[in-house]
C-alpha cells in the first residue's frame, strides 16, 4: 500500500514521541515503531533525567554544561552542550506538567540525586542533579509521552518496521516499511522523515540494550550515503549484572553504593580520588576492567562487587526497587544483605547519524539534507563527545526531540512533495524474496553471535591496532557469510525470523563503522581507550570522526570540535 503523510517519525522512544508532540496537530504526522510504542527501549531507563533545578542543593546550568563537556573528554561541541544544560529545567518542568510522577523532596518539589560525573563547582564534589521516579524514570516518561500523543490524536503505526529510506536527488521522499501483522510491504510517501530509532548495543555480546536496539535508522541512513559521526565512542556502563548485562543504574552509586574488589577494597579511591565511585562511566569501567586484569576480580574472576548493603531496606525499596528486584529475580541475591556481582556492559552509543543541534541531518559538507532529521540515540549531535554522562540521554531526547520537531515545522513551509522514484519498494521486496527463496544457508543467529564475540573481545574497553584489525577482518568475513543467510519462516504473520535476518545486516554494517573509526583514532579519549596510544592527543585528535559509505568501503574523515568557553584540560575526577 501507499500511505501519505507530511511527516513520518520513525521510533516511539522519548525522542520520537517528543518530536511528534511538537509536529502533530500542525502537520499531518505519523509515527512508526517496530515494537509497540510503550515497549521502546527508553522505558528501560532507570536512573533519571539531568537538570540543574537546584531543588536539593545549589546548582547552575553552567556547572551542568561544564560536566557534560568534561564528561565527553572535550570532543563535545560546547554550543550544543550549552543548549542542553540551559534548556534542561524547562524540559523537566514540562514533563512534570504532563504528569510524570517524579519522586518529591520534603517541600514537594521534584527530588534529585547524585549521578556519575555531575558535579558542583566545576568538579569539586558530586551534585544532586538527576530528577527521578524511583528507578523507573524512563518508563514513566515514556508512558506519559505516549498517552499524551494518543490524547493529541497522533497517528501511530505500531509494529511497522522501516526497511529502507527512499531518497531522490539527495533529498528524502519517503520510506519503506514492513507490517509485522500482515507481512505487507508499504511505501510511506512524505515530505519529512525524522529518524529516532535508538541505539545499537546489540553489536556487542554483553549489553544493557534491548533486542530491538539494532541501529536500523543509523544503518539505513549510512547505506543511503549519509555520514555517521564519532562511531568509535561506545559506552560501557560499569555495572551490568554479571553474565546477563542487565543494568544496575548508576543511581545505585548515586544513592551511596560502593564498588569493591576481591579484598573488599573501595578501589575507585585509587582511580578517582575526588568523586570516587561517581566518576564518569568510562573511568569507572576502565577501573573495573583493570582490577579484573590485575587479578583483583572476585575469586580471580571477571567481575567485581557492588555493595548496597549499607543503604538499608527502606532506601532500596523507595528509590531502587526495580534493581533490587532484578538482582533478586536473576541472581537470587538480596541486595540489602549481599554483594552484587557486576561487570561492564555495553550501554550507549555516542556515535550516530550526523545532525546539527536543530536536528537536521548533515552531509559531509555540513549542508542539511532536505527533509531528513534525526534525534535521540541514533543521532550524533556532537553533544556527548567521547563519553555521555548518565541522565544526559533522556534529557537529550526531550530537548533535541523537541528542537527537531520545531525545525520540521519550519522547513515544511518550503519542503515540496516530490514524486518517488519509479519502484520505491522493489529493492526491499527483492531482498525479502531472495531471503525466502534461499533453500539452505547460514543461520543469522550464529553469525550475530560471532560478530558479538569478536566485537566484545577486540573492540571493547581496551583496544589496540592489532585487536581492531582482527575485529575488522572477522566482521568483514561475517558480512560475506551474511549474504548466504537462509531463514526457516516463509510466512507472513509476525515473521521475526525474517526481520532478524535483515537486522543482522545493519549490525554488521555498524560494527564495521565502529571498528574503522576506532582504528583512525590513534589516541585515548573518553570511552575510546587504545593500549597502544594510552594518552589523549589534542594536537592531532581534538576533532570528530566522520565515516561515510563508498563503493570501496567506509571512508573516514574528520571535522573540528566547537569550543566556546572551556578550553581542554587534563581530565581527572
Amino acid at each position: 500500500m501507499i500511505f501519505k503523510h507530511d511527516v513520518i517519525i520513525v521510533g516511539a522512544g522519548l525522542a520520537g514521541l517528543r518530536a511528534a508532540m511538537e509536529v502533530a496537530g500542525a502537520a499531518d504526522t505519523a509515527l512508526l515503531s517496530k515494537v509497540y510504542p510503550t515497549r521502546s527501549h527508553s522505558g528501560a531507563a532507570q536512573g533519571g533525567i539531568a537538570a540543574a533545578l537546584g531543588n536539593e542543593e545549589e546548582d547552575f546550568w553552567e556547572w551542568h554544561m561544564y560536566d557534560t563537556i568534561k564528561g565527553g573528554d572535550y570532543v563535545a561541541d560546547q554550543d550544543v552542550a550549552e543548549i542542553l544544560a540551559k534548556d534542561a529545567p524547562r524540559a523537566v518542568y514540562e514533563l512534570e506538567h504532563m504528569g510524570v510522577p517524579f519522586n518529591r523532596t520534603p517541600e514537594g518539589k521534584i527530588a534529585q540525586r547524585a549521578f556519575g560525573g555531575h558535579t558542583r563547582g566545576f568538579g569539586k564534589a558530586p551534585v544532586k542533579r538527576a530528577c527521578y521516579a524511583a528507578d523507573r524514570s524512563g518508563r514513566v516518561i515514556l508512558d506519559t509521552l505516549y498517552f499524551e500523543g494518543v490524547r493529541k490524536g497522533l497517528k501511530i503505526y505500531p509494529e511497522f518496521h522501516m526497511l529502507d529510506l527512499v531518497m531522490k536527488d539527495n533529498r528524502v521522499v519517503g520510506l519503506v516499511a514492513y507490517e509485522l501483522a500482515t507481512g505487507e510491504v508499504h511505501f510511506f510517501h512524505c515530505r519529512a522523515v525524522l529518524l529516532a530509532t535508538g541505539g545499537y548495543g546489540k553489536v556487542f555480546k554483553t549489553t544493557s540494550n534491548a533486542f530491538a536496539s539494532t541501529g536500523d535508522g543509523v544503518f539505513l541512513a549510512y547505506r543511503a550515503g549519509i555520514p555517521l559521526e564519532d562511531m568509535e565512542f561506545v559506552q560501557f556502563h560499569p555495572t551490568g549484572i554479571y553474565g546477563l548485562g542487565v543494568l544496575i543504574s548508576e543511581a545505585a552509586r548515586g544513592e551511596g553504593g560502593i564498588l569493591r574488589n576481591h579484598q573488599g577494597e573501595r578501589f575507585m579511591e585509587r582511580y578517582a580520588p575526588t568523586i570516587k565511585d561517581l566518576a564518569a562511566r568510562d573511568v569507572v569501567s576502565r577501573a573495573i576492567a583493570t582490577e579484573i586484569l590485575e587479578g583483583r576480580g572476585i575469586n580471580g574472576r571477571d567481575y567485581v562487587h557492588l555493595d548496597l548493603t549499607h543503604l538499608g531496606e527502606k532506601k532500596l525499596a523507595e528509590k531502587l526497587s526495580d534493581i533490587t528486584s532484578f538482582v533478586k529475580i536473576y541472581l537470587g541475591i538480596d541486595a540489602a544483605t549481599e554483594l552484587i556481582p557486576v561487570a561492564p556492559t555495553c550501554h550507549y552509543m555516542m556515535g550516530g547519524i550526523q545532525a546539527g543541534s536543530h536536528g537536521r541531518v548533515l552531509d559531509t559538507e555540513q549542508n542539511p539534507i532536505p527533509g531528513l532529521y534525526a534525534a535521540g540515540e541514533c543521532s550524533c549531535l556532537s553533544l556527548h563527545g567521547a563519553n555521555r554522562l548518565g541522565c544526559n540521554s533522556l534529557l537529550d531526547l526531550v530537548v533535541f526531540g523537541r528542537r527537531a520537531g520545531t525545525s520540521i515545522l519550519q522547513d515544511l513551509k518550503h519542503l515540496s512533495w516530490d514524486d518517488p522514484p519509479a519502484h520505491p519498494m522493489k529493492e526491499v521486496q527483492d531482498r525479502i524474496r531472495s531471503l525466502k527463496e534461499r533453500k539452505s544457508g547460514e543461520k543469522h543467529g550464529r553469525i550475530r553471535s560471532a560478530m558479538q564475540e569478536t566485537m566484545t573481545r577486540n573492540c571493547s574497553i581496551f583496544r589496540t591496532e592489532q585487536s581492531l584489525s582482527q575485529a575488522l577482518a572477522e566482521v568483514r568475513a561475517l558480512k560475506q557469510q551474511a549474504g548466504r543467510v537462509a531463514i526457516d519462516n516463509l510466512g507472513t504473520r509476525f515473521n521475526t525470523d525474517l526481520l532478524e535476518a535483515l537486522e543482522l545486516e545493519y549490525l554488521l554494517g555498524l560494527a564495521e563503522t565502529i571498528v574503522v573509526s576506532a582504528l583512525g583514532r590513534k589516541e585515548s579519549r573518553g570511552a575510546h581507550f587504545r593500549d597502544d596510544y594510552p594518552e589523549r592527543n589534542d594536537d592531532d585528535y581534538l576533532k570528530h570522526t566522520l565515516v561515510q559509505r563508498t563503493d570501496d568501503g567506509p571512508q573516514v574523515s574528520t571535522k573540528p570540535v566547537t569550543i566556546t568557553i572551556y578550553p581542554p584540560k587534563p581530565r581527572t575526577y
Binding site: 515494537v35 510503550t38 518542568y93 514537594g108 519462516n489 510466512g491
Partner: protein, 237 residues
C-alpha cells in the same frame, strides 16, 4: 541441563486449529525461559513467533502462559522448572495472531477508556506543580505497571465477562484518581462506576498473584470501590 518445551502453535491464516509442538533445548539453570525460546527459534525453528525486547521485565512484551500461569518469559528462570516440562501458551482470552503473539488492541483500548493522562484545568506554574511525598507515595506502586497484560489474562472474571475493563485498566485509572495533581477526580470516579467498570471484580486475587511488577492490583481495585462509595453519595448501585 536439558529442558523440554511444549509450545502452542497457531497461524490463523493457514492452520485450522492450534497444535502443540515439542522442543528440547540445553539450558543453564540461571537462564531465562526467554533465553530458551530464543535458542529454539534461532537454532531449531525460525517459524516460532513471540514478542520480546528488553529481556528483563520492563518493556512488557513477553507476557504468556507458562505452565498455566501468566508471566513474563524474561522473568522466569529455568531453575524454577527443573525436571518439569514447560508448556508455553499465549495469554488467555486474547485473540491469537500467531503462536504466542496476541492482539493487544482491546486491552489497550480498555486502558485508554479511562484517559490515562493527567487532566488539569489550571495553568501550570512556571516550575513544577508541588506534590507532597505522602501524595506521591499513593501512586508509587501503580506507576510500576509495564502494560504486559498478565493480570488481565489471569483474571477469571474476564473469561465470563469480556466487557469487564479488567485489572490493568483499573490500575491505570487508580494512577490518575489518586494523583493529587489531577483535577478530574470526581468525573473519573463516576466513569469507573458502571457495571463493567470497577464492580465486576470479585477479589480472586489472580491479578495480584501474577503481576510481574508486584503491584497490589486487587487492593487498588478495592480502594477505588471504597473511594466511589465514599465520594459519590446517592449513586445508584
Amino acid at each position: 541441563m536439558e529442558m523440554k518445551f511444549k509450545i502452542f502453535r497457531f497461524d490463523p491464516e493457514v492452520d485450522e486449529e492450534p497444535r502443540y509442538q515439542e522442543y528440547r533445548v540445553a539450558a543453564d539453570p540461571a537462564e531465562r525461559i526467554l533465553d530458551c525460546l530464543n535458542r529454539i527459534k534461532w537454532e531449531q525453528d525460525g517459524t516460532l513467533s513471540y514478542r520480546m525486547s528488553c529481556a528483563h521485565g520492563v518493556c512488557g512484551s513477553d507476557g504468556m502462559r507458562i505452565n498455566g500461569t501468566c508471566a513474563l518469559a524474561c522473568q522466569k528462570l529455568v531453575r524454577e522448572y527443573a525436571d518439569a516440562e514447560v508448556t508455553l501458551e499465549p495469554l488467555p482470552f486474547f485473540r491469537v495472531l500467531k503462536d504466542l503473539t496476541v492482539d493487544m488492541n482491546a486491552f489497550l483500548e480498555g486502558i485508554l477508556y479511562f484517559r490515562p493522562w493527567l487532566i488539569t484545568l489550571s495553568d501550570p506554574p512556571e516550575q513544577e506543580r508541588l506534590q507532597s511525598q505522602e501524595e506521591a507515595k499513593r501512586v508509587e506502586e501503580v506507576i510500576r505497571c509495564i502494560l504486559c497484560a498478565c493480570c488481565t489474562g489471569a483474571c477469571p472474571v474476564m473469561s465470563e465477562n469480556p466487557n469487564y475493563v479488567g485489572p490493568a485498566a483499573l490500575v491505570w485509572a487508580f494512577r490518575h484518581v489518586f494523583d493529587s495533581r489531577d483535577e478530574k477526580r470526581i468525573e473519573r470516579l463516576n466513569q469507573l462506576d458502571f457495571p463493567d467498570g470497577v464492580w465486576p471484580c470479585v477479589n480472586h486475587f489472580e491479578c495480584t498473584r501474577v503481576c510481574p511488577k508486584k503491584i497490589p492490583v486487587t487492593k487498588c481495585i478495592n480502594t477505588l470501590k471504597r473511594e466511589i462509595e465514599k465520594t459519590l453519595p446517592g449513586r445508584s448501585q
